[in-house]
Symmetry: C2
Subunit: 344 residues, 2 copies
C-alpha cells in the first residue's frame, strides 16, 4: 500500500532546531514567530518535502476544507458546466471538492452520503428524482447541505432550483404563437422533477388552447433517446409539426434524427429544447431553447454552502429559484420566412 508522505512536522522541527509548535505557527499563520525563524522553518520544510497530513489536521481543527458533490449523472455538457461552476467557486474559497455521480435512488444516495460524511464539511447535492427526496431531507437535516434542483418539497432546507414550469410555459406559448398544432414532447427520466415541471408547464398551456394536440413520448435526457424517440415520432401517423425536447441534449439527437430522415428543421418540423447548453447555438439550425444559467447554479449553491460553513451558522431554510429566459434561434421557425440557407 502506498503511504502518505512520511516526513512529519516532527522531522521539520528537529531539523530546524525548533519545537513542533513553532513549526506549526511558521507554516500556517506566520504569526507569533520571528521572520527569521519563519523563513528558516519554511526553508527546511521545503527542503525535506514536508506535506502536512490533512487528516491529522482535520482531527484537531474539526474541519476538512472539502465539499462533497453528489450528482445523478455525468453525461453531456450540462454537467460539465455545472461542475465547472462548483469547482471554480470552491477553489476560489480554498475548498476542495470530492465528486461522486450515478446516484439516483434513495439507497444509492444514502450510501454515497455515508461514505463521504466523515470527510467533508458539507454537501452540494443534485438528485432530481422524487424517490430520493426523503434521503435528501434526512441528509439536509443533519448536515450542512444545499440541494440543487429540488423544489418546494424540501422547503425546510436550502435549495436552489430552476424556474422549469415558467420556462416551459413561455416556450409553449411561443410555439402556439407560431401556429404549431401538433406538438410532441420528449420527456425526461421518469420521476425527474425538472422534467416533470417542464411537462406540466407545457400541458397547462396546451390545455387552454383550442385545436392543439399534445403527444408525449419517453426519454431520459440523453442524446441517444432524443434520436430514437424522434425516429418513432416521424414514422407514425400524425407527424408532429413541432417537437419540444425536455432538454437540449435530447434536442441534439432529435435534430440528428430529423436530418437523417431528410426532414428540414424548422421547415418540416420545428425543434426546441431546454437548458441552453453551450452547443445549442452551434447546431444546425441553431437551437431555440430556454436558457438555464447552469454554471451559475453551481456557483450559487457552492457559495451559499461555504457562507454557512464559514459563518458557523446552520444553513437557513431558503428556497432560491433562478429564472429562465427564452432564447430565440432558428430551430423554432420564428424567422421561417427568411431563407434558412442562402446560396453562396
Amino acid at each position: 500500500m502506498s503511504r502518505l508522505p512520511s516526513v512529519t512536522i516532527r522531522d521539520v522541527a528537529r531539523e530546524a532546531g525548533v519545537s513542533l509548535a513553532t513549526v506549526s505557527r511558521a507554516l500556517n499563520s506566520g504569526a507569533q514567530v520571528t521572520v527569521d525563524t519563519r523563513d528558516r522553518v519554511r526553508a527546511v520544510a521545503e527542503r525535506l518535502g514536508y506535506v502536512p497530513h490533512e487528516g491529522a489536521r482535520s482531527l484537531i481543527t474539526r474541519r476538512t476544507g472539502t465539499l462533497g458533490v453528489l450528482l445523478p449523472d455525468l453525461y453531456g455538457e450540462f454537467f460539465s458546466e455545472l461542475i465547472r461552476g462548483i469547482d471554480q467557486t470552491a477553489q476560489r474559497h480554498g475548498y476542495h471538492m470530492v465528486l461522486a455521480s450515478s446516484h439516483s435512488d434513495a439507497r444509492e444516495i444514502a450510501a454515497a452520503v455515508g461514505n463521504m460524511r466523515g470527510r467533508v464539511d458539507g454537501f452540494v447535492v443534485m438528485s432530481p428524482d422524487v424517490a430520493a427526496l426523503p434521503a435528501l431531507a434526512s441528509l439536509a437535516s443533519t448536515f450542512p447541505t444545499v440541494v440543487l434542483g429540488a423544489g418546494p418539497e424540501l422547503g425546510a432546507f436550502a435549495t436552489i432550483s430552476v424556474a422549469n414550469y415558467e420556462g416551459a410555459v413561455t416556450m409553449a406559448r411561443h410555439l402556439l404563437d407560431l401556429g404549431y398544432k401538433r406538438i410532441a414532447f420528449i420527456r425526461g427520466p421518469t420521476g425527474n422533477v425538472d422534467a416533470t415541471d417542464r411537462l406540466r408547464g407545457l400541458r397547462a398551456v396546451v390545455k387552454g388552447a383550442a385545436g392543439v394536440a399534445l403527444r408525449e413520448c419517453a426519454g431520459d435526457f440523453r442524446q441517444e433517446t432524443g434520436y430514437t424517440a424522434t425516429q418513432k415520432l416521424i414514422h407514425g401517423k400524425d407527424r408532429p409539426d413541432a417537437i419540444f425536447c425536455a432538454n437540449d441534449a435530447m434536442a441534439v439527437g432529435c435534430i440528428g434524427a430529423l436530418h437523417e430522415a431528410g426532414l428540414r428543421v424548422p421547415d418540416d418540423i420545428a425543434v426546441v429544447g431546454f437548458d441552453d447548453i453551450p452547443i445549442a447555438r452551434f447546431l444546425t439550425p441553431p437551437l431555440t431553447t430556454v436558457r438555464v444559467p447552469i454554471a451559475e447554479l453551481g456557483t450559487s449553491a457552492t457559495e451559499r454552502l461555504i457562507d454557512a460553513l464559514r459563518g458557523g451558522v446552520p444553513l437557513a431554510a431558503h428556497r432560491e429559484v433562478v429564472p429562465t429566459s427564452l432564447v430565440l434561434r432558428a430551430s423554432c421557425g420564428a424567422n421561417r420566412r427568411e431563407p434558412i440557407r442562402r446560396p453562396v
Copy 2:
C-alpha cells in the same frame, strides 16, 4: 464553523457497553466479534448517527481512500466523458475522487498538487501543456501518479496517451484520398501536446503530397474558436475545400459557422474533427472524426493507479498509447455522391 459530526466511537462504545476496540471491529471487518455483539454495536451506531472520522482513520491506516484528479479544464463533452470514466472506476474500487481543474501552467499545477497532497493516496493528472511537464515529472517521482496524455517526454513514469499522430495521419490520408487540395487546420491551444501531435501528423502527410496546400489557424479546443476561426477562413481568398479541426468541439463551432454563412457541408466545404465526442454522430451532417476512447482513458488511468496503490508497489514506468480509429460519417464527403438530404 460547521463541525464534523460529534458522536464518536467512544459514545458508541459506552452506549453499547463494550470497548473501543470491539466497536471498531464490529463496524469494520466484523471479524473477531460475536454476531450478537456485532449487530448490537451496529444498531447503536446507527441509532446514534455515528460517522467515523476519516481523518483520524487515515492517520493510523496511512491511507485516505481518495484519488486526486487534476484537469486542465472542464469545458465540453470531452471532460465529462473523461471524468465519468474516472469516477466509475474509482467508485467501483471504493475510492473517492477529489477533482480540481483549471491548471495549465507549472505554477498552478504545483500549487494544486501541494494543496491536495496530504489528502489523497495518488494522482491522475492531465496537463497537456508542455510547460507543465517538469512539474509533472517532479510530482510523479515523489508520489503515485498516472499522467494522462503526456507523451514520451515523461517516459520514466506511468503515462497513458492517445495515438494522436497516427490518428491525424490516417485522417489526413483520408482527406487526400477524397481529393481535397486546400486543407485548413484549426489548431489547439499553443503548447498543447495533443494538438501539436495532431498537427504534426497532418503536416507529415501533406508534405508528401503534390499540389496540396495547408493553411493553419489558431484555436483553443473550444466551440467558440472553431466558430470564429472558420468565419475568418471562409472570408479570405483561397477558401479551403476541407477543414480539419484539432478536436470535435471546434468542429461543432466550425459547422455552425459554415451553415450560418450558407455554405453546405460537405458539398462546399468538408469538415472533420478529432475525439469522437458523443455529439459528433448527431451533428448535421454527422461528423467524420478520429475516435478516441475517452472514458476508457479515464478508466485505464484510474485502474492502473489503484492497482499500484493496492499492491503497494511503486508505479512502474509504463507508457501506454491507446489507439485511435477513423470514424467515417457524412461531413467529410466520403459519401458525397449520395444526396445529403433526400426529400421526404
